[in-house]
């Protein structure tokens, strides 16, 4: 019994030691920054020149003492809620419009929604500003008087653009849900005498509750914690939002660390409550609509151009074509343009944007280096961490998994704020580890932001692998590294490549960390774009945005091409193997059975 107990303890220690690299990485990149941020809310002098560990709730009181902060919290709450409701309605229409449409229309809607998903919110917001402001594209082209769009630069306008921006989160959840509802669930109702509208109300829509709630809660969380809209529209609309207040507390004099920490805590708590409410609703209920015999309802009448398809295309026009089209037009039109005539177009703004003296080209090059490095590291760490989580299930790896799931929901602005507290702390001075304001700190923040997503992607791929594949390799004497390199990597290489390109393109337009953590004098690309817009240089800012988007689309296309080649290669290899095996298999089948 004693021997057994000591063996158990040794194994326990070995498990923790095995998970130590993963835990250390998570601690440095995510836990430590978040903990220091949250500690600031109860230990206000933690980061002072005269550090003190005396607790106080004064930071939280301070948050609400400032009416602007209170207004920002309420604004974010209301706008987040209302835009989540509208996004849910619009995303659901788009999902029905796509899933039950002809393949061509489905592909069109799907592609459009994906572009909206990838387009950073501040890029979309700037597109809307270019379109709607006094003297903007709409005013120039349609000769509209000043003040025509005052209604837009208000909460109403914000709700419109935010609702359109968060459609993808609902769309993805709902289209999968629609596909998963077996045809027989509707058929059963029809045979009992129910008409289609009654069935939709009583059966179809309630069956999609999980997707509806998931989509709505993500849309709310995105709206509540979105920094892009806040950064791009708040200066125009004078509507304070919580994320902008966090940014302003850290970036504008006088710097107000306690407010930033308190607001960050509120942000995390509200988002956690939203997800908790969603999970609480689902607890004890089942909405399982998939069985081995289910036939997708989506295929029923799938060659039609329905009214939902038409409405989806209109929605996408507003969500994508209008804002991005405005950005492209803004970048190509002469300042005095009053129509879309050929002579009004120019490439001057692109030339100006890429001039060495403008800093645009330098910041683009800088960001591409950041993106390449963080994408490479994300791919490697993501692969390793997912591998340990899937195939080395211990208490320690479960802990890492839970932290990772939780941190996906942490808004970028909060994580970036955490990095300021964590890597500018007084206790790091004697250790010469104050890295705030260095490229390393910014690179680490990019890595912290992308790693949880990369791990989730890798987990998805690795979950489909049978553990026996690894057991077989281990039983033949392969060490962990060999198993990872020779068995796991070849099977998940397409996902690894997808992770690389996802991080690469994501970093190109990452705004929160770029704004708060860049080394002085060396702004990254997103910060340069934002500053250009803030300086009212809309044409040059738009040109920079378009250049960035072209690079992102080219990289994304390259990634998809490589990914499909790798997947194709894997399939071909598997098919060749099957063909080679065929004769012996045929023999086995035809041989007499006892």
């Amino acid at each position: 019994m004693t021997i057994s107990h000591s063996k158990h303890s040794v194994r326990h220690i070995r498990d923790w030691l095995g998970a130590a690299p993963s835990l250390l990485l998570f601690f440095i990149l995510i836990l430590y920054p978040l903990l220091t941020l949250l500690a600031q809310t109860v230990l206000p002098n933690l980061f002072g020149v005269h550090m003190s560990l005396i607790p106080s709730l004064s930071p939280l009181r301070q948050v609400f003492a400032n009416p602007l902060n209170l207004e920002a919290v309420l604004n974010s709450l209301v706008l987040g809620l209302v835009s989540a409701i509208f996004a849910t309605a619009l995303g659901t229409v788009c999902a029905f419009g796509a899933v039950r449409a002809h393949r061509g229309w489905r592909l069109t809607i799907d592609t459009g929604v994906w572009i909206v998903f990838f387009a950073p919110s501040y890029v979309i917001a700037q597109g809307w500003v270019s379109l709607m402001q006094d003297g903007g594209i709409a005013a120039e082209l349609f000769h509209l008087p000043n003040g025509w769009s005052h209604w837009f630069f208000s909460r109403v306008g914000l709700v419109i653009v935010m609702s359109l921006r968060y459609i993808p989160f609902v769309y993805f959840a709902m289209s999968q849900s629609i596909r998963n509802i077996g045809k027989e669930f509707e058929q059963a109702g029809r045979l009992l005498g129910a008409k289609r509208t009654y069935l939709f109300r009583k059966i179809t829509l309630p069956l999609m509750t999980p997707a509806l709630l998931a989509g709505a809660s993500i849309a709310f969380a995105e709206g509540f914690g979105d920094f892009g809209f806040a950064a791009a529209i708040t200066p125009q609309t004078h509507i304070p939002l919580i994320t902008y207040q966090i940014y302003a507390s850290l970036n504008e004099a006088p710097v107000d660390y306690p407010s930033a920490a308190g607001l960050s805590l509120i942000l995390i708590v509200v988002m956690a409550i939203a997800f908790w409410l969603q999970m609480r609703w689902m607890r004890g209920r089942s909405y399982s609509t998939i069985s081995t015999h289910s036939r997708a309802a989506a295929t029923h009448g799938s060659h039609r151009f329905t009214s939902a398809t038409a409405v989806s295309l209109v929605i996408l026009f507003f969500a994508l074509i209008l804002p991005l089209g405005s950005t492209v037009l803004e970048s190509l039109l002469k300042d005095s343009a009053s129509s879309l005539a050929f002579h009004n177009f120019t490439l001057h703004h692109y030339h100006q944007a890429l001039e060495l003296s403008s800093g645009g080209l330098g910041s683009l090059r800088r960001t591409m280096i950041y993106a390449a490095i963080s994408a490479s590291l994300t791919m490697v760490f993501g692969l390793y961490l997912a591998f340990t989580m899937i195939f080395k299930k211990t208490v320690a790896t479960r802990l890492v998994n839970n932290i990772m799931i939780a941190t996906i929901a942490v808004p970028g602005i909060v994580l970036a704020a955490g990095f300021i507290f964590a890597y500018n702390a007084v206790w790091l001075i004697p250790l010469h580890l104050v890295i705030y304001g260095t490229p390393i700190c910014l690179g680490m923040a990019y890595l912290a932001g992308s790693l949880p997503y990369a791990i989730r992607l890798q987990l998805g791929a690795m979950n489909q692998m049978s553990p026996n594949l690894l057991t077989a390799a281990a039983s033949l004497g392969a060490k962990q590294w060999t198993v990872l390199r020779r068995v796991v990597l070849p099977l998940v290489r397409a996902t690894a490549v997808a992770t690389f390109f996802m991080t690469l393109t994501g970093t190109m337009f990452e705004l929160p960390a770029s704004s708060l953590l860049y080394p002085a004098g060396y702004p990254p690309f997103p910060e340069t774009i934002q500053k250009t817009f803030n300086a009212f240089e809309y044409a040059r800012g738009s040109a920079l945005t378009v250049i960035g988007m072209v690079i992102v689309f080219v990289l994304y296309g390259l990634g998809r091409l490589l990914e499909s080649r790798l997947v194709g290669g894997e399939l071909q290899t598997a098919s060749r193997r099957r063909r080679q095996k065929a004769p012996s298999e045929v023999k086995a089948v035809t041989s007499p059975t006892p």
């Binding site: 029809r190 009992l192 015999h293």
Partner: protein, 370 residues
């Protein structure tokens, strides 16, 4: 209600799935649509339910045309109950709400609904589960609720699409009895789709055997098992030895054939058959160590090639030495006695145990031996 199908046709992408189905389903009877995957049985059921338009022909139920080439009565107007393969119980509704759904749609009053729901739940012995959700029920219980939901609005026809296929073997056996008892007590015209001939044989009043979109044979379970008309029907209704034999003479109902050196008297005449073949059920053949030829049976030398134990019987594959054609033939025999592989025995073929069946093109593909 009585169901009449007249020359019903259906194509999918140029492939004929139903090819002129003519069928009569008597009122109040349990009819099984039996056949392998892709034979058109589910398509036929969906056409009966109104989920599919037919390309030709007519479906008439109780004197009313439900479908013809131009018109398809909507499913919600047919007063049909259906039990699906995976039950399709709505997971967000309780047992009560699931069963009451059809009654609410028909705008029945709440007290009336409550009484009817209790009544059908009692029929399926699930009275105590009104507040349960489908995910809280076992497979068999879900099955009962699915039947109760279908029966609640008093449908004129009950359609069942392989309702036992989602259950494990033991539960399937039990549910077969329960289902039969529920349907018999409901006295409703039932159309039951299955690919399991045991299910069809043990439950149906009438079996419709479908093959490649056509009706291969219709009859009672006994008729189909004892008197299959084709090689396909013979094989599909249970294990069968179908052999090619030489015909010596034939009368109206009997023929004399020559097989492996023996002359055998079998049922049927080859007069109207394209490619007559002879069917022997494995259970009608016997094995023994001694040859005892008589007027009652013939004895053929054979050797045990393979065997499988099934608990109550042994399944043997024996090779019969064909003295005339010099070609060994393999036949299947069931026997309670145990013989070792390689044992030299005699196969006893009782007189009139064989039956002529139509071979057609499928015979060569499906017969076991030869």
């Amino acid at each position: 209600m009585e169901i009449e199908l007249k020359d019903v046709c259906k194509e999918f992408n140029g492939k004929k799935v139903l090819q002129g189905i003519d069928l009569s389903i008597p009122k109040g009877q349990f009819t099984a649509l039996l056949g392998p995957s892709g034979c058109g049985k589910t398509t036929l059921l969906n056409a009966l339910a109104g989920f599919l338009d037919i390309d030709g022909g007519e479906i008439v139920v109780g004197g009313q045309t439900w479908s013809d080439e131009g018109v398809t009565l909507a499913p919600e107007k047919r007063n049909v109950g259906m039990v699906f393969q995976d039950f399709a119980l709505w997971p967000h509704l309780t047992v009560y709400e699931n069963v009451a759904f059809g009654l609410k749609v028909k705008r029945r009053r709440a007290p009336e609904i409550a009484v009817r729901v209790q009544e059908v739940l009692a029929t399926v012995q699930m009275e105590g589960y009104v507040n349960a959700y489908p995910h809280q029920l076992s497979g068999g219980q879900k099955q009962r609720i699915a039947i109760a939901r279908a029966l609640a609005p008093n449908p004129s026809v009950l359609l069942m699409d392989e309702p036992l296929s989602s259950l494990d073997a033991k539960l399937r056996e039990q549910m077969r009895w329960d289902l039969l008892s529920i349907i018999k007590s409901a006295k409703i015209t039932t159309v039951y789709v299955t690919h399991d001939q045991m299910e069809a044989l043990s439950m149906a009043d009438q079996i419709v055997l479908l093959h490649d979109g056509i009706v291969e044979q219709v009859g009672t379970p006994q008729e189909l098992f004892d008197n299959p008309q084709t090689v396909f029907a013979a094989h599909f209704m249970g294990a069968a030895n179908v052999i090619e034999a030489e015909f010596r003479e034939s009368a109206e109902n009997f023929s004399m054939i020559q097989w492996s050196g023996a002359t055998l008297r079998v049922h049927g005449s080859p007069a109207h058959m394209q490619q007559p073949m002879v069917l022997f059920r494995p259970s009608s053949l016997r094995l023994s160590y001694e040859a005892t030829p008589s007027s009652l049976h013939s004895s053929l030398p054979c050797i045990i090639q393979a065997r499988a134990y099934h608990g109550f019987t042994w399944q043997y594959r024996v090779q019969v030495k064909d003295a005339t054609r010099q070609l060994p033939q393999t036949v299947e025999v069931w026997s309670a006695d145990e013989f070792a592989i390689g044992t030299q025995l005699f196969l006893h073929v009782p007189a009139e145990s064989g039956r002529l069946v139509e071979g057609g093109e499928t015979a060569k593909l499906t017969h076991l031996g030869g």
